[in-house]
């Protein structure tokens, strides 16, 4: 070690040094600056504040993401992918290759779309009668009609949509966003998940796990009513003033402990974390308290109707959270099993009427509200499920459709993504993506691109590899959208 090369950090190359910090990405101006000042300061800056705001690879178009996850898999041919040729085939058996829960099939009975489609807006996009409110927003929406994924089964498909892989253990999109960007408001979690009132999706916490990254990057479950975050509320009988006194004593005890250990920034950070928690106890309830929202806003989101109240409140909270600097918000429509989510195996009409009815107005309200507040420019709204559904029936009788990961629709809005556009198509029955197919990884790369990252460069060092959301093979963003 006598001949240290120039420009090294404690004998390690800069690359090695950054890797050791769990920080593998290419060029980071902030860290560069710190590194020039003192390598040791850099170490501590990163270790103590992994959520500090960070600069991405290039100037970001979006600062936040709201991912509206339609768990269970909405039927694209009944919602946003207009297939006129499908209607007259209703009830007819045709040769068609499908793969779903029921396995691989060569034939099937067509279920004609159960709703009529109309053209909306300047762009004339087709939207089914399930979404009359959203229809009025099409000029802000970009449709990807040619999505495909690796698995037509919920467990693995959910993991793929959230973490890019069909196996569990990898960080979610929200983890990557907060890892890459940090958060601009530490009084609130950077990555927030709101679940359906009927329960979580299958695989539960795996869907918002930070996998091999530290737990700071995992999603925090936020409840729309009552206690917003686990253990946020003071215990019964305890007032804020009383807790403050306790924290003051704790602070004194910790400061006294720190005296002989003054160089230990972890101890300092932990002292700070109690002050942050104390502030969070004030800020998080404020973030979910909609008492100051106007009557017009409440009506816009459908809070006056039992049908839309629940999802409407969550959409409104999403706006409030983004306003307050939260980086990534995910809202689940649908939870639990069977018809409690969009998994319409039996009665498509019942299922989709229920779920679309609960979400159409709230989502349209979210887009409208974000836009009128100037937040849509910097917020990406994403809509979709883990896959779509087949044009043919699953069972001998009924309107239920099986899963379809070979072709489905997702849409995005805001965050610099052009509105009123469509990319890619499925075949004329909506069975498979045929023109410009886009994998889930392309969707992820698109979202990361708008946040300022090259998905092929944003990496986290784990198990000897530069791990990426888009995997070793990488993926390009959808060019027409960025």
């Amino acid at each position: 070690m006598s001949n240290l090369p120039q420009n090294t950090f404690c004998g390690r190359t800069r690359r090695e040094f950054l890797q050791q910090l769990g920080c593998g990405f290419g060029s980071l101006p902030l860290l560069d600056l710190l590194a020039k000042e003192s390598p040791n300061k850099l170490l501590h800056a990163f270790r103590n504040d992994p959520m500090a705001p960070k600069q991405p690879h290039f100037a970001p178009k979006a600062k936040a993401v709201i991912f509206l996850f339609m768990y269970g898999g909405p039927s694209h041919v009944d919602t946003f992918d207009y297939k006129p040729k499908l209607y007259p085939l209703d009830g007819k058996s045709i040769d068609i290759d499908t793969k779903g829960r029921g396995g691989t099939k060569k034939q099937g009975r067509v279920v004609g779309p159960k709703w009529a489609f109309k053209q909306y807006g300047q762009s004339g996009k087709w939207v089914s009668d399930l979404f009359p409110h959203l229809g009025r927003c099409v000029d802000d929406m970009a449709f990807v009609h040619s999505m495909y994924a690796d698995s037509p089964l919920h467990g693995s498909a959910m993991l793929m949509m959230n973490s890019g892989r069909i196996l569990s253990g990898s960080p979610c999109l929200g983890s990557w966003a907060t890892y890459g960007l940090g958060t601009s408001n530490q009084n609130l979690p950077g990555f927030v998940v709101m679940l359906d009132k009927t329960g979580g999706p299958i695989s539960g916490a795996k869907n918002w796990s930070s996998g091999f990254m530290p737990a700071v990057y995992q999603g925090t479950v936020l409840r729309a009513k009552g206690e917003a975050i686990l253990d946020l509320n003071l215990p019964p009988g305890m007032s804020r003033e009383e807790q403050r006194r306790m924290l003051d004593t704790l602070l004194q005890q910790n400061e006294s402990h720190l005296q002989a250990r003054a160089d230990d920034t972890d101890l300092q950070a932990r002292i700070q974390s109690y002050e942050l928690a104390f502030r969070m106890q004030a800020h998080a309830p404020e973030a979910i308290d909609i008492v100051n929202e106007s009557e017009a806003t409440r009506t816009l989101y459908g809070l006056d109707s039992p049908r839309t109240e629940d999802f409407g409140r969550k959409c409104l909270l999403a706006r409030r959270l983004v306003e307050r600097g939260v980086r990534f918000v995910q809202i689940y429509s649908g939870g639990n099993h069977n018809d409690n989510n969009w998994d319409a195996h039996g009665d498509l009409v019942y299922n989709h009427t229920h779920h679309a009815g609960a979400t159409d107005q709230p989502i349209a309200a979210l887009l409208t509200d974000l836009k009128q507040r100037g937040l849509l420019e910097s917020t990406i709204v994403v809509w979709g499920g883990e896959f779509g559904r087949q044009p043919t029936a699953e069972y001998a009788e009924g309107t239920g459709r099986d899963h379809n990961s070979a072709g489905f629709t997702m849409w995005l809005a805001g965050g610099g993504i052009p509105g009123g556009v469509s990319v890619g198509t499925t075949d004329e029955l909506g069975n498979q993506a045929v023109l410009d197919p886009y994998h889930v990884k392309n969707l992820h790369a698109t979202i990361l691109r708008q946040l300022g990252f090259d998905a092929n460069q944003l990496a986290y060092r784990y198990a000897g590899l530069d791990q990426k959301l888009v995997g070793v093979t990488g993926a390009e963003p959808i060019r027409a959208l960025v």
């Binding site: 329960g199 009383e242 720190l258 942050l276 928690a277």
Partner: protein
């Protein structure tokens, strides 16, 4: 200038192990053992001095957490501080290494590495069968100081030992710990994903090499080729994949020593039974003889009235089963050939033979018959539904309906039950001994009670539905009604009664007493208390071989299928054929594979274990020495303990690492000997001091000029809170526990009401390693404090600091309840507030309380009493909460 390319074998970690001589150093009075020579030489070369020795209070806390994961009690601290003998520290080390809690702490480190969890992840996140046995085996192996080579060998090939035991089989649960998609999009690919988890975990954990990338292509930095990956995989490829069902991934095997105990118990049982039978016979004969002829007739009539159908199988017809008195006949499907029996003739069923009977009973009834077989039936030990076995008398209808049946399962176990709700009864096994056994199944519609007797012994009783059992349209003898599960063996004396026979009546039937029931009724008259020998018979217990379900390695056959490279990791695309072999860069020898004599497995995994554990393996011993160092000192000598390849870090003290590696082998691979060596070094006993000069020269302490402070791990924090509260239950082992899970966390599960169990409070207060490890539902406190992610091998835990941790520690129900229990404990100890707070400080900081620390808390208590009108008890609870949140509780010097 381009450096000359070094040979791949020349990489530091692949080089043959050499034993460097510990360097000579000045200042040798600091040196306690050879470790210190290596460390000191490097320090002195950089002009640095080691930090002074830590105080005894610091040392006992450091050592107790390090070895047990628990804090020392104030009494233990006092004893150690007062012990002025020169070997006080060594005695402490010995005491701690003998504690069974040592295995809990060090077993936890290993569980992180092998990604231990008890469920499969994915949609259903199904519970693995008895995965806790693997966890217990690990804890026990550490406690017994199993030599490290044996520890690895048992996990890799404990089933291939000459005489496998429950322990050695449980060790191979190693292969079944990973994630598994029960509904994969591509089955074959999923099987290879599972194998990849095994290859990856084995390579990283035992050898410190990353093979994962070579699944798709030759490793870009390390000399590991795709052929190396698939040759390595071939050692495991004959394992039954996870998707082969419970039978493929686990086995039901006799508990250790159970067979010997069973022989003894069986002999005792036989003599007890014989004595009862003889007494009962004599009694019945006498009683019957004493009856008047009129009484005999009356009783026979009563018995006949209850018996609605009797098939004694004496008169035979190839197509019909004839009712003895002209009642409804059975229709024979197949053959049902008459064979000789102890009462004349019986009917033989060959697996395809069936007899259909009308639905003779549906309300209250008794079905009784004799059965004889040597065959093993369908179904496993742990399945109780009668429809898992071979049908004897069956009315099974698929679904949760009002059906019933009796079957022959597994190793001669009789099952019976009724449906809706599913209520199942089981006898002991071992009836497949070729002797005749009497079976009776009774059902009382008014109470729903059902009971199963074998040889007059009450096997089990339960409470089922109280409806008419009218789901089956008929009854089937010799198989299950929906088809399949045919019985192979003999049946005789089949009778249906329209009421519940009691234990004595059943006993009389079983012993074939003269006109069975009559005799029993007569006896009851003679013995009005009901305490007849027949009742004693019913209550006898046939001894069982104690069997345990073990998650373990099972192979497909003795002769494995050929193995192939799978091109770019695609399981469907085969490349060249490969044989089981070691990575080329590490060994050019062809492994010697000898299949074990029992013919169940290929012997491949034993061959792999032999190579991994041979004393000159360059990686195995370096890797384990590095891990031991890591857990004692906070970081490995090589900071990437799972990757000793080109993408990992270089060791800071390569000579020390090599010396330690040779020391593991030299000390009989005893990990406890290595602990003793490391913790008795002066290097280990340094303070966590601030020294500006050293800090400036070596800010990341690469040279070990001081001891590194660490935050306690997730389990250590929870266990310490329980210990402080005086509530910690130190019980070891057994099925996992379910401490209360906050409703808000349960709500994140897709089936909140079924997601978690409930343990009684004393069980919930056990150490965290025993908490059920469910991949999709984590204890919020453990998760917040960075417990290992269980999907891949976790070599180093994070130690994050986040505000959500503070929320859980301040407001969470667990923290609140610990503060309450802690306060109650302090109050019980008596004394005034100062005395109580001083005790609290001593418990949480493991040293004598300083006056100013106590003053601060007393002031808080006084202020809260005055300003918030709190009671004495309330303020103490709040003080306790402060103590549990303090940095000196959560950090370790």
């Amino acid at each position: 200038m381009v450096a000359q390319q070094a040979a791949p074998q020349d990489w530091w970690a692949y080089r043959p192990l050499q034993r460097p001589a510990p360097p000579e150093v000045q200042n040798s009075q600091w040196v306690s053992n050879d470790i210190d020579r290596f460390v000191l030489a490097r320090l002195l070369a950089r002009g640095l001095q080691p930090a002074a020795q830590a105080s005894k209070e610091v040392l006992i806390r450091r050592l107790t957490y390090d070895l047990l994961g628990l804090p020392p009690t104030p009494a233990e601290v006092a004893v150690f501080v007062a012990d002025a003998s020169p070997d006080a520290y060594d005695k402490l080390v010995d005491r701690l290494l003998q504690s069974p809690q040592y295995g809990v702490q060090w077993g936890r480190h290993w569980l992180d590495l092998v990604r231990f969890a008890e469920t499969d992840s994915f949609e259903r996140d199904t519970k693995k069968p008895d995965a806790w046995r693997y966890r217990d085996w690990v804890v026990d192996a550490f406690n017994k100081d199993m030599p490290y080579g044996q520890f690895l060998t048992w996990q890799l090939a404990g089933d291939e030992l000459p005489e496998p035991t429950v322990s050695s089989m449980a060790a191979t649960g190693y292969y079944r710990l990973g994630i598994w998609d029960d509904e994969p999009t591509n089955r074959l690919q999923a099987v290879y994903d599972d194998f990849d988890g095994i290859v990856d975990t084995t390579a990283r954990t035992m050898l410190g090499i990353s093979m994962g990338c070579a699944r798709c292509h030759d490793h870009k930095k390390d000399p590991i080729k795709a052929t190396d990956y698939y040759s390595f995989l071939a050692f495991f490829e004959n394992l039954k994949p996870y998707n082969s069902g419970v039978d493929g991934i686990s086995a039901s095997i006799p508990a250790d020593g159970a067979m010997r105990d069973h022989e003894t118990a069986l002999a005792r049982f036989a003599s007890e039974r014989l004595a009862i039978v003889l007494r009962a016979r004599t009694f019945a004969e006498t009683a019957y003889a004493g009856l008047s002829p009129a009484m005999r007739v009356e009783m026979l009539d009563a018995a006949d009235r209850a018996c609605i159908a009797s098939y004694s199988c004496e008169r035979t017809d190839p197509k019909l089963l004839l009712e003895d008195r002209g009642g409804p006949n059975g229709v024979v499907k197949g053959q049902a050939v008459p064979v000789e029996s102890e009462t004349g003739t019986a009917l033989r069923f060959d697996g395809d033979d069936r007899i259909d009977l009308p639905l003779l009973v549906r309300n209250s009834f008794t079905i009784s018959f004799r059965v004889r077989s040597t065959q093993t039936g369908h179904g496993r030990d742990n399945e109780k539904g009668w429809f898992s076995g071979d049908g004897l008398v069956d009315g099974e209808v698929p679904g949760i309906v009002r059906d019933f049946g009796i079957s022959w399962q597994g190793d001669g176990r009789i099952l019976a039950g009724t449906g809706s709700p599913e209520t199942f009864l089981a006898s002991s096994s071992g009836n497949n001994d070729g002797r005749w056994h009497h079976v009776a199944f009774t059902r009382d519609r008014t109470t729903g009670r059902i009971a199963l007797y074998v040889d007059g012994i009450l096997a089990e009783a339960g409470e089922g539905n109280k409806d008419a059992l009218d789901a089956p349209p008929k009854l089937t003898v010799g198989g299950l009604q929906p088809g399949g599960h045919g019985f192979r063996g003999d049946l005789d004396e089949l009778r249906f009664y329209s009421r519940v026979l009691d234990a004595e009546e059943v006993g009389a039937e079983a012993l074939q007493l003269r006109a069975g029931i009559v005799a029993a009724m007569a006896m009851r008259k003679e013995a009005p208390t009901g305490e007849s020998d027949l009742r004693a018979l019913a209550l006898l217990r046939r001894p069982q071989v104690e069997k345990v379900q073990v998650l373990c390695a099972r192979e497909r056959s003795e002769k494995p299928e050929p193995s192939f490279v799978r091109i770019r990791g695609n399981a469907m695309v085969r490349g060249v054929e490969v044989k089981p072999a070691l990575p080329e860069v590490l060994s050019s020898k062809t492994p010697t594979i000898v299949p074990p004599a029992d013919g169940r497995t290929s012997g491949r995994r034993t061959a792999l274990a032999q190579w991994i554990t041979q004393p000159d393996n360059p990686l195995t011993w370096r890797v384990v020495a590095n891990r031991l160092w890591q857990f004692h000192f906070g970081r490995g000598l090589c900071r990437t303990p799972n990757d000793f390849g080109h993408l990992g870090e270089l060791p800071t003290h390569p000579e020390l690492l090599d010396w330690l590696a040779t020391e593991v082998v030299a000390r009989g691979q005893s990990l406890k000997a290595m602990h003793r060596l490391m913790v008795t070094s002066s290097t280990y006993r340094m303070q966590c001091v601030v020294d500006q000069l050293s800090f400036a020269a070596d800010p990341t302490n690469d040279l070990f000029w001081r001891f590194d402070r660490r935050r306690l791990g997730a389990e250590e924090i929870r266990d310490s809170m329980l210990a402080a509260a005086g509530a910690l239950n130190l019980q070891l082992g057994g099925p996992s526990i379910y401490p209360p899970m906050p409703a808000a966390v349960l709500a994140t599960s897709s089936r909140p009401e079924e997601a978690w169990g409930k343990s009684p409070p004393d069980q919930a207060a056990r150490r965290s390693i025993f908490i059920h490890q469910k991949r999709s539902l984590l204890d919020p406190l453990l998760a917040a404090f960075d417990m290992a992610d269980t999907d891949t091998s976790c070599p180093v835990r994070f130690a994050t600091v986040q505000p959500t941790q503070a929320l859980i520690m301040l407001n969470g129900e667990f923290a609140q309840s610990m503060a309450r229990t802690f306060a109650a404990r302090l109050q019980e100890g008596g004394g005034d507030l100062r005395a109580q707070i001083e005790r609290g400080l001593a418990i949480t900081t493991c040293r004598t309380a300083q006056p100013q620390d106590a003053d601060r808390l007393i002031k808080l208590a006084t202020d809260l009493r005055r300003d918030f009108q709190r009671t004495e008890a309330d303020v103490l609870i709040r003080c306790c909460l402060v103590l549990l949140n303090a940095n000196d509780f959560v950090y370790l010097d």
